[in-house]
Point group: C2
């Protein structure tokens, strides 16, 4: 079974937890065994967001997961990249895993969005889904669905 890792570096965006559930659900439908690696705060949001663990089956801590990480451990990396810290995590995981990767870049500020997008583009060959968004998940969802079709 193909394995996918969803990476959450920060909890601040109101779209992130909902989009994590959505991405987990879509990737499961595509046949991936999905794991979510996150900071403790982002993990707490996932717990209240899915109290019966109906959607999210595997959760690991982002820091401690770095220890056992190696090329081939996952077939797909999907990272939420909407803060410097989150992008740094994404770049780190990308270079260790060396697998197909998708960065979800979203920000309400145009300039920051471009900055984040450039950071990912300059440091990885990941597919980039970039949208100017904050609390409306639809543009991100639509573009994410589109990039999944290219996998």
């Amino acid at each position: 079974m193909k394995k996918a890792l969803i990476l959450l570096g920060c909890p601040e965006s109101p779209s992130q937890t909902p989009m994590t559930i959505y991405a987990n659900h879509k990737l499961s439908e595509l046949g991936y065994d999905v794991t979510v690696a996150s900071t403790p705060s982002a993990a707490k949001l996932l717990e209240v967001s899915d109290p019966e663990e109906y959607y999210i089956k595997n959760k690991i801590d982002i820091e401690s997961s770095l220890d056992g990480l190696e090329p081939g451990k996952y077939d797909l990396l999907v990272g939420f990249a909407h803060k410097d810290a989150a992008i740094s995590y994404f770049i780190t995981f990308y270079h260790i895993l060396q697998c197909e990767s998708i960065a979800l870049v979203f920000e309400k500020d145009h300039q920051l969005l471009e900055e984040f997008e450039n950071m990912v583009a300059e440091n990885t060959d990941a597919k980039i889904v970039a949208v100017r968004a904050f609390h409306n998940p639809t543009p991100l969802r639509v573009k994410f669905d589109r990039v999944l079709k290219e996998l």
Copy 2:
């Protein structure tokens, strides 16, 4: 069957969508038939957050739901109150429904939190769950669980 209404006036907080799922889940366990009334943006976040509608069974638009609202239509009102607009909605729904009510007030800024709490306290006799929180849902969840035991 007892009926509960969860009210979402704004989508901005990262805790709101996860806590809505949680509240819906807990109230269902307590035997309530739960409906969520929300702005269109908040509704979109709920949709991606629960793509199979496993948790949220009934969703209505906050504006159009006001038309048919009357005393006795719901037995419990739970409102997220973390912006002026959301608090205005809560106060309006409270006075029309005249049922047992809980306001969930959360803000990272101490002064705003107090201001929001006072707005609710001065205009309603709702139970108030107030916490200084932004992206950590735990304090809100713990206090919400506590107030549910008093119902």
